[in-house]
Symmetry: C2
Subunit: 257 residues, 2 copies
Amino acid sequence: MILIKLGGSVITDKSQYRTFNKTLVARLCREVKESGEDVIIVHGAGSFGHILAKENHLNDGFEDDSQIPALAQVCFDVRELNSMVIKELIEVGIPAVSIPTGSCFMMNDRKLKIDNEDILRGFVNKGIMPVMFGDVVLDRKLGFAICSGDQIMELLAKIFKPKRVIFVSDIDGLYDRDPKKYLNASLYRIVDKNIISKIKSETSVADVTGGVYSKMQTMLRMCANGRDCILMNGTAEGRLLSLLKGEEIICTRAESD
Amino acid sequence: MILIKLGGSVITDKSQYRTFNKTLVARLCREVKESGEDVIIVHGAGSFGHILAKENHLNDGFEDDSQIPALAQVCFDVRELNSMVIKELIEVGIPAVSIPTGSCFMMNDRKLKIDNEDILRGFVNKGIMPVMFGDVVLDRKLGFAICSGDQIMELLAKIFKPKRVIFVSDIDGLYDRDPKKYLNASLYRIVDKNIISKIKSETSVADVTGGVYSKMQTMLRMCANGRDCILMNGTAEGRLLSLLKGEEIICTRAESD
């Protein structure tokens, strides 16, 4: 089993409210199907979630009732995004069912808890892919908060113990500085704890990584026990399929000690 | 709190695959909003569920792998229907969140079990309406089966103890014979166990009731302890609002002994 996260930056245009990259998602779904591998997909919320969530401080938890309509709207929007992803999966012949994170599970102080694995396992055992996604989730301490796709990845990895974990992003991997600003930025092919510490001490993290730093930390937590854990660019055609077929691709691989 | 079931025959055209009665649903949502009452809505699957489910015997449980793509398609379709309903609720100013039955709960030999009420209660406590619906649901004995909106109504009534339960259908209530066939069919204003037994012994149930008989049995189970339990016609404009305001309307009321 292989666990794949389709990042919000790949499946949506993050700068435009509710813009779905249908052609790109359709291609990625075809690559998954063509590989013949047993896969579970998680996806981010992208512009279906972050824009309204930020405007209404949904990640700060409950402040006042003015957040409630926004919460319902974000839940609605990310479920529509999920429906678009599932539609593409079904169209390439992968039976998939939505498992909306905030409808099924709760958090406690921002920590997602999957207290019942039976439904997830039940679908997988029938050859149906359960698809979870970044969502607003009820929180026992904060009222509600945002649960990221990355957090879901960590939990699903604990449940399904995949041999491989792939984060599909819109960049080739982790660079030593922001590749959108510096032409001579160079890609790390392998990242371990030492490199991560070095990056952190040498530069402003926000400046260097374009948001990939915290994802790398997640990946380092997930790559223990020899699990292959990869950050790659989904906008490059055929790269996901190559990776799934076991070929070498341009990417950053997380390595535990 | 009032529990309302919007029947599949009201919110969809049951004879046409995936046909949503948007104008009618929008009006019913406005009537709920205008009443100012505290409401939870459950809805049926209508033509988004029954047609494919029947063709692929999804209610007979797992037979072979050929059912799996159909299962995924039905789950997809009913979630899209739910999304359409939620959209209308949000548009009239009712914050609502989808709780897809088969993503959140399981059945055992066709009996739905809501083993964790925290999420449902959590949304209600924040003034957000959780919306469940008829769905394909994993079944510990059968593999999977169909869970009806009526079954969800019974469970939610146990959890939320509503003062009133309303089944919104496309007929005025229970008739002594099929009103689509017999011009002189007369409407029962009140139904109790004796009337139900009489109907059953005197005629072919399928012939008489147009499918309302089993709904009436559900209603009789739900109307104990003085709870008001009503079957009414949602296609008649303003009737739901009148009922919610406490006015007398054309309907059938279930009465316990």
